[in-house]
């Protein structure tokens, strides 16, 4: 499979503290790549850099062989890159349908009536059709999470970054989310999945990357990594995966 996105020696410092140091890896088309690591490992920072919401101190990102670092986020989005947020960030004073419609119109660049149809499809995909006209701020936290995912999907992404989608969800909700993610993979979306809860990632991803203190410490098939001592070290006292 061809390389869709490659991260080339990306470093990022915040006022002298290195959040990321020389991180390099590739994401292959059609894969689900799991990105794991303890708190403060720099996972979210990396996603923001991929989205061009942050500018790396060194290094760059290549997408389909082209350097995209330095583009504005909305142009990045139009290339087919999209992300969800750890804390859901829907547009709180708009209703669900409008929330998704914005992305369909601008991110995916659809015509008005096409966009409306697409928005409905997406809402259905994330089980929010019933809440079409509910104001986003009035949804439950989990519904907001779903909506956040829907917004990310509305831009018709080829490469989707999920920032801890499962954090704080009940088992039933986890199952619901995982089913959506699987469906997306089947549709051919490449996914970079940042997660704290390891079990689901290990079960579902094709490739796994471990970050610790801003550095990539491991890369490989999930089963190999789980047994690696360095991985266990990084997670000691953190998680009993």
């Amino acid at each position: 499979m061809s390389v869709l996105l490659s991260i080339e020696k990306v470093s990022k410092s915040f006022g002298g503290i290195w959040a990321l140091r020389d991180v390099t890896f590739d994401v292959h088309e059609g894969d689900i790549v799991g990105l794991v690591g303890p708190n403060g490992a720099g996972k979210t920072t990396l996603l923001k850099i991929c989205m061009n919401l942050l500018r790396p101190s060194h290094g760059f990102i290549k997408y389909k062989g082209l350097k995209i670092t330095g583009l504005s986020p909305h142009k990045t989005c139009k290339l087919g890159i999209s992300m969800t947020n750890q804390i859901p960030r829907p547009f709180k004073r708009m209703n669900c349908f409008e929330n998704v419609l914005v992305g369909c119109l601008f991110g995916a660049g659809l015509k008005r009536n096409e966009a409306e149809r697409e928005a409905e499809t997406i809402l259905e995909k994330v089980f929010l059709s019933q809440k079409k006209y509910t104001i986003a701020g009035e949804l439950t936290v989990f519904e907001q999470k779903l909506l956040d995912l829907a917004i990310a999907l509305s831009t018709a992404p080829k490469f989707l970054m999920l920032d801890e989608p499962l954090a704080g969800s009940t088992e039933k909700e986890v199952a619901q989310l995982v089913s959506i993610i699987k469906k997306l993979r089947d549709e051919g979306t490449t996914i970079l999945w940042v997660e704290h809860v390891l079990s689901e990632v290990i079960e579902n991803c094709d490739q796994m990357i471990v970050l610790n203190e801003g550095k990539k410490i491991l890369e490989g098939k999930p089963q190999e990594i789980v047994n690696d001592t360095r991985f266990i070290e990084a997670y000691v006292g953190e998680e009993n995966a």
Binding site: M51, P73, H74, N95, V102, G103, L105, F106, I135
Partner: protein, 347 residues
């Protein structure tokens, strides 16, 4: 659907009255309505920027002022007043586009302070600009169409434009994008909305309407001078009208402007206390009616409306002010939104 047709009917009846009034009444009532129209239009202009793109501008008078000066200069060259006002408004719009790249870097309260200071700087500049008449400003020639009823019609046309233009925008793709920008700039940027462009366009349209207001005001006052043109209080009265009426709606600013204008006229006869009473009343209204006067209207209209879930989405804004007396978190921070706005400040 029924309510929609009702409000259209209501609007038509309202417009009919507005057109007919000068044939029946003369003098003072016209003066009041003229002032009302100007206030409505200015409030709508500010509302467009604030409620639909989150631009809390405290220097909105700047655009009315610039347009006012341009209108005077153009009209004094012998060009009809109507064209002068349009040229003035377009100049304001252009100016808004020019300053946008600088101002749009600032967010929330920083944007507010930035606009405020820009407006102040212009006031100072015009105070010392000899060609602009320094502190004395410029006088408009007595143009042939000048009469109270003509000014009245002009003001209402502008008020009409100021109400319809946001209405059209909100229904459009641009409006949707602007709303998303208002709610979360970074997120909307991340899903493909060119936020800078959207903000600039909304700001420019808002400036255009403010420009029309400035033009009409000078057409009626016949004079423009720096303290009037770039007055901080003017900007704040617009804010006041919108917040009082209810943000994010089209009726809100109209209600707010109506209340403020009536207050001004009703309290005219106790000049020593008028401002004091106005101030106290405004505080009370905001405390007890945090969603603005629009919530009273809604309350009154409630029995008229049948629940229908299949219609279009409800009015998208709930009004923004909440009293947090029964907030669910005991330690909660009361100006969370403000904190977030500031914390997400851009370099």
């Amino acid at each position: 659907m029924r309510l929609k047709s009702k409000s259209i009917m209501f609007s038509i009846v309202f417009m009919f009255f507005i057109i007919v009034i000068p044939w029946i009444l003369q003098g003072y009532p016209l003066l009041f309505l003229l002032q009302l129209a100007i206030n409505i239009a200015f409030a709508q202009s500010w509302n467009l920027g604030f409620s639909y793109a989150g631009l809390l501008s405290l220097g909105h008078a700047l655009f009315a002022g610039i347009s006012g000066y341009v209108t005077v200069v153009i009209c004094n060259m012998g060009i009809p007043i109507y064209i002068s006002i349009l040229i003035g408004a377009f100049t304001s719009m252009l100016f808004a586009v020019v300053v946008s790249p600088l101002l749009m870097r600032l967010r929330a309260i920083y944007f507010a302070i930035g606009t405020l200071i820009l407006c102040n700087a212009f006031q100072y500049w015009f105070m010392h600009w000899t060609e602009a008449g320094r502190a004395l400003g410029l006088r408009l020639r007595m143009y042939p169409e000048y009469s109270l009823s003509n000014c009245y019609y002009l003001a209402w046309i502008v008020a009409f434009i100021a109400t319809v233009l946001p209405w059209i925008i909100v229904k459009s793709k641009l409006g949707l994008a602007a709303l998303s920008v208002r709610d979360d700039v970074d997120r909307s940027e991340a899903i493909g909305v060119p936020t800078l462009l959207v903000k600039t366009i909304i700001f420019a349209i808002s400036a255009f309407i403010a420009g029309l207001v400035g033009g009409v005001r000078v057409a009626y006052l016949l004079i423009i001078e720096p303290t009037l043109a770039f007055s901080f209080e003017q900007s704040l009265w617009a804010t006041l009208a919108v917040v009082l009426g209810g943000t994010g709606t089209l009726i809100g600013p109209i209600l707010g402007a109506a209340v403020i204008t009536s207050l001004q006229y009703a309290l005219m006869n106790i000049p020593e206390l008028s401002m004091l009473i106005t101030g106290v009343m405004l505080i009370l209204i905001i405390l007890f009616l945090p969603r603005g006067l629009i919530s009273i209207v809604k309350k009154i209209l409630q029995p008229l409306r049948k629940p229908n879930t299949h219609a279009r989405p409800p009015q998208r804004d709930q009004g923004t002010i909440k009293v947090l007396s029964n907030h669910k978190f005991p330690f909660s921070d009361c100006s969370e939104s403000a904190v977030k706005d500031v914390c997400s400040f851009e370099h």
